[in-house]
């Protein structure tokens, strides 16, 4: 797949997301303003404000002009205005993004490292009791949906044992600074992070184990063993290292799932990231925020995938195609 083709693919994907985002509220029954802002708000609006909104979205113009309008305002970073939270949607999303980045970033790093180590050890001992135990455990983990994993950790560690706070990212109204603030944030962070890592780790593990099994068949492993290298060196330096590539690229592609997983887990722990924002805007029928957030998340995941696709070749000269 050449670069031009790749860019076209992502371009089409981007366009699909944009058009859906644009069309959905406008195809709904009733005036688009109802779908964009929700019924409750519309009742409270003054006619002047309504008129200004219609002008703002160019709703009195034909559809294609509305679309051009829509694209232009997007490029200005104008995702609309939230009537419920009385603020610009863009600003609201920006305030929530760091928490999600924190969660997704750390969970990706930890689950990848954990999955690789377990995968290498498991593949090395293929068929032995340790391998079977890890494999069964990981397969079982892969069945748990992220939100159920989050709920179980919450109920067990926070409700029953009382070891961790129930919700949020910080103790509300706590007058703490410096190291205590950091500790407080970490304490709130551990359970959501653990839930996400537990959900994510099995995918990476299974892939590493499979590539490890195939790598171990290669002749250079036999050479390494014949040279009399210690087991550990063969396992990590030779076999492990050569099994890494698909795993690393997958981590990038997995980003989409990690973000979705984070969305659900944030909802359970009332963690103030974009997942929670999506949830609260769903409850309030705050459509501008809902749309804006989903659009930003989709674009973000798309961009990350694109980036991974681009560096894919650089990582392994043998790989010319993704498939």
């Amino acid at each position: 797949m050449n670069l031009k083709r790749k860019i076209t693919n992502y371009g089409i994907a981007f366009l699909i997301i944009l058009s859906l985002n644009f069309l959905l509220p406008r195809l709904m029954p009733g005036t688009p303003l109802t779908a964009i802002y929700g019924e409750e708000v519309l009742v409270q609006m003054t006619p002047e404000f309504k008129a200004s909104l219609i002008k703002r979205f160019a709703l009195d113009e034909p559809l294609y002009k509305q679309f051009i309008f829509y694209i232009f305002s997007l490029f200005r970073g104008d995702l609309g205005y939230s009537y419920y939270q009385s603020g610009s949607v863009f600003q609201i999303i920006l305030a929530h993004l760091p928490w999600t980045f924190l969660l997704v970033g750390f969970s990706l790093i930890l689950s990848t490292i954990g999955g690789i180590i377990l995968g290498i050890e498991s593949g090395w001992r293929r068929g032995k009791i340790t391998d079977k135990a890890i494999l069964t455990g990981m397969m079982t983990l892969s069945g748990f949906p992220s939100f159920f994993m989050g709920i179980m950790l919450l109920l067990f560690f926070a409700v029953n044992l009382g070891l961790f706070p129930l919700q949020g990212a910080r103790t509300p109204y706590a007058d703490i600074y410096g190291i205590w603030l950091v500790l407080d944030v970490v304490k709130h962070f551990i359970l959501p992070l653990a839930a996400l890592v537990l959900v994510e780790v099995s995918g990476c593990y299974l892939l590493t184990r499979n590539t490890m099994i195939m790598t171990l068949r290669k002749s250079f492993i036999l050479t390494a063993k014949a040279k009399g290298l210690p087991d550990k060196k063969v396992r990590y330096r030779h076999a492990g290292r050569n099994s890494l590539l698909p795993v690393v690229t997958r981590t990038g592609i997995k980003l989409g799932t990690a973000v979705t997983g984070a969305l659900f887990i944030e909802i359970i722990f009332s963690y103030p990231g974009v997942g929670n924002l999506i949830y609260s805007s769903l409850l309030m029928r705050d459509y501008p925020v809902l749309q804006g957030t989903l659009l930003m998340v989709a674009i973000f995941v798309l961009a990350a995938n694109f980036f991974v696709d681009l560096i894919y070749k650089k990582l392994d000269p043998r790989v010319q195609n993704a498939y």
Binding site: T8, N9, Y10, I12, A13, I16, I17, L20, N21, L24, P25, M28, A35, G127, M139, T140, S142, G143, F144, P145, F147, F148, I151, M152, L154, L155, V159, L206, N210, I213, M214, R217, G256, T257, V259, T260, L263, F264, I267, I268, I278, Y279, L282, L283, Y287, L290, Q291, L294, V297, A298, V301, L302, N305, F306, Y323
Partner: protein
């Protein structure tokens, strides 16, 4: 080329567990009307603890939780099988036709497939579902339309290689008709891939339905495990989650596991490098 899938599946531990559990779910769903009462009926007996009368107690509006659990399985299995079949059908139709027809048709199909593959599906689904609030049937269609691309890609490449493979040209040289080749060779050889595609779509669909119901996007007339969990979580401070939330979550995980086990086991059978008997 021709692997005895059924034999291999029965030999594999994960495959065996998956099959048994799957049959168990099917049986439960089929006999649901005989082992439950009306899951929607509300009574004055709220927050009852489990008893012989109510195996898993009752919820906050006096509905029998055991009945809701069993009827939730109906919803999940319906979505799983519906999406599995529809998305596999779409994938097979578009993938195979792209391979067989070729030309600009293939080009357009592949562009659409590749574009959809990089889109974060769940996020798009939440967006669409939030606006149209789909019924259970519409949800099946929606998920299928977001999920056929992976299958289509594999089916296309498989059909391409089958088209050129030796046993097909051998059959051709014996004068086999196009239909004979399609039904006798191409479809049987595609079958395992179709099954794997079915299983993975079904697994994703179960997760998506429950996830959407969990965040409140759901058909109000159906009983759903996701909805049960969401509802039960409001009463986390009572002991009731032990027989309300936990069984629903466990059932959901078990059903997802069924598909995960079956898929993993079949993939292993299809990849001779991972198969032990072949080593």
């Amino acid at each position: 080329m021709h692997i005895k899938y059924w034999e291999e599946l029965k030999k594999d531990t994960f495959g065996k567990i998956g099959l048994v559990l799957f049959l168990f779910f099917i049986v439960i769903v089929l006999i649901a009307p005989f082992i439950t009462r009306d899951p929607q009926v509300q009574t004055a007996l709220v927050f009852e603890a489990p008893s012989l009368e109510h195996l898993l107690g009752t919820n906050d509006v006096g509905q029998d939780i055991w009945s809701r659990l069993v009827w939730g399985a109906r919803t999940s299995l319906l979505v799983a099988i519906g999406v599995g079949m529809l998305s596999t059908f779409l994938g097979a139709l578009i993938g195979a036709s792209a391979a067989l027809i070729g030309g600009w048709y293939e080009e357009i199909a592949m562009r659409i497939i590749d574009a959809f593959l990089v889109i974060p599906t769940v996020i798009l689904l939440i967006l669409v579902a939030a606006f149209i609030r789909p019924s259970i049937w519409l949800l099946i269609v929606l998920i299928s339309f977001l999920r056929w691309q992976g299958g289509a890609r594999i089916i296309r490449s498989q059909t391409l290689s089958l088209k050129e493979s030796v046993h097909i040209s051998a059959a051709k040289s014996f004068g086999a008709s196009r239909f004979y080749i399609l039904f006798r060779h191409i479809i049987p050889d595609l079958a395992p891939i179709l099954v794997v595609s079915f299983i993975y779509s079904a697994r994703m669909a179960v997760f998506m339905e429950a996830g959407l119901a969990f965040i409140g996007i759901t058909d109000p007339s159906v009983v759903s495990w996701g909805k049960m969990m969401h509802h039960a979580l409001n009463f986390y401070y009572l002991d009731i989650w032990k027989w309300w939330l936990l069984p629903a979550g466990m059932a959901l995980s078990a059903l997802i596991l069924v598909f995960a086990f079956l898929g993993y086991s079949l993939e292993k059978i299809m990849d001779p490098r991972l198969r032990k008997s072949n080593a």
